[in-house]
Symmetry: C2
Subunit: 310 residues, 2 copies
């Protein structure tokens, strides 16, 4: 039942209307593995950092269930760094700095102990790097989930499509679904994208929830209306980590169970945005998580009129 | 159990990416009463048109359950006319023409037969005109629902607040909720608006669904992901008509029943946008409506893991 996660482990510097941070731990694989760790342990990490990455941050990942055998530490090199500033409504952000550093020539080496991989989460990276991980696994995992972003649609579309064809679940946001399909209607976009290879498509709509499609069905999970959104960084990755963690823990990839995984991922993401960076993901209790999932269920629950009347 | 609806009955000329119309029947009260008529008849209409308004359109309203005793026909005057053009993604529209005509000095006269009003729907009009209707009813209705728009927040905010204070349910869209409250977070916006007088607030988010708040609870109804949205005109009014029609038919204003009314209103609105103007609202069957409501229920339905496992 092993879960392998590949993606960036990095430094982020964030600025929101509510404050700013110096370099803090960030990166897709960081959020994914922290989020997944509430469902399943270990989370086998494939990533690369420089020798500037603090041992204490690596220990933090380990304390939260990460197996870091696949985490490469490049001596004399620097970790990936991203800095961004959010607009007042938090709905758009400006990238201030992107320093690829160690990510520029990342070769994802899989330790032998990762070959039992049954669930594979491909966090956002170059499509070629994501593909290499699939190719380096001797046995194809039971489920491959892939996250990506518009950047690769802009500069490496054909390469991206080659990787998309190899995965089971693609997770992107609404604007990316429109860009990838050339269709404004998300229903039409889903049909086109599902012809590209994946059996399932998740369209993340941020504060407007998430849609799960296969060729026959659609499911919608709302986002929880929150009083305060403090920092949206990592919300999509936290969603993805919660999603695949739930599936790995239950080892059930039916559409019905994927719905539950989407709700669980949405709940995890709703925690993530409540504080800066990874902070809110570090000390959650199962009780808090279950209570939050119940809030999602209550939000859309309607008692049938016939039952109510009886 | 009488339902009274006040609002515009008008001519619209519409242009969307999918085509354009000449002057066709439109107006808030038209959409509200057509939509409500699938739940309750008659719908007692309070509105005004000019002598240019075709008898055939009045007959159309009557055939769909409207009591037109309160529909004034002003000889020698012209009907309210609005013309608009939608952007490619249908999410924004430009007003090309607004001719107030008969609406400029509309005095909403209530026939005696309307004094049994139990459910009152105030469609978008000047806040003063909406207020006059409440004042002219001898007995306060059991439930007053009010729709309005940002235009009145811009030019008549204090007047608007006076009317808002008198109603039970306020129905506005997300941008209007933000403008009225001065808060970006819809949860915070709802708290502030519910302090202004209404017991319930509906925030319409178009393709992203609708929220229903009271001081203690929140309910979310998604919008149905549609393959084609042809013309969004009237969707909000169709929602409101479905909402109050459902409540009037069931005569139950509990929060639980309001949830069902929101789902019903959302289903009615999902039909409205499938064709130009009122066309799709003219020949719906109860079977179609129930099937659509079931689609809304299925869209968010998650079987609990424990039930699925048993």
């Amino acid at each position: 039942m092993s879960l392998v996660v590949i993606g960036s482990v990095a430094f982020d510097a964030l600025e929101t209307p509510f404050g700013k941070t110096d370099k803090i731990i960030g990166g897709a694989a960081t959020y994914i593995s922290l989020s997944a760790s509430y469902s399943v342990k270990p989370v086998k990490l494939v990533a690369v950092v420089g020798d500037d990455f603090p041992q204490s941050d690596i220990a933090l990942l380990q304390q939260h269930g990460a197996d870091t055998e696949g985490l490469q530490i490049k001596q004399g090199e620097k970790s990936f760094f991203w800095s961004g500033k959010y607009a007042t409504d938090l709905n758009s952000r400006e990238t201030l700095v992107t320093e690829l550093n160690v990510l520029a020539d990342f070769d994802p080496i899989l330790p032998d102990s990762y070959q039992d991989c049954k669930y594979l989460m491909l966090g956002n990276l170059t499509p070629q790097t994501q593909r290499l991980v699939i190719q380096r696994l001797v046995n194809r995992p039971k489920l491959i989930v892939m996250d990506t972003m518009n950047f690769w649609m802009d500069i490496a579309l054909e390469d991206l499509k080659t990787t998309i064809e190899m995965v089971d679940v693609l997770s992107i946001n609404d604007e990316e679904a429109r860009q990838l399909s050339g269709q404004h209607s998300l229903v039409k976009a889903a049909k086109i994208i599902l012809e590209m290879g994946p059996k399932y498509l998740i369209i993340k709509k941020g504060e407007h929830g998430a849609l799960l499609f296969d060729k026959k069905q659609v499911f919608f999970a709302p986002a929880l209306p929150l009083e305060e959104v403090f920092d949206p960084t990592g919300a999509g990755d936290t969603f993805a980590g919660g999603f695949i963690g739930y599936l790995a823990a239950t080892d059930d990839i039916s559409f019905e169970n994927m719905k539950r995984a989407v709700v669980h991922g949405s709940a995890m993401a709703s925690f993530c945005v409540e504080k800066f960076g990874t902070e809110r993901l570090l000390n959650l209790s199962q009780e808090e998580i279950e209570a939050r999932e119940q809030q999602f269920a209550d939000l859309v629950a309607v008692m049938p009129a016939t039952v109510a009347a009886s």
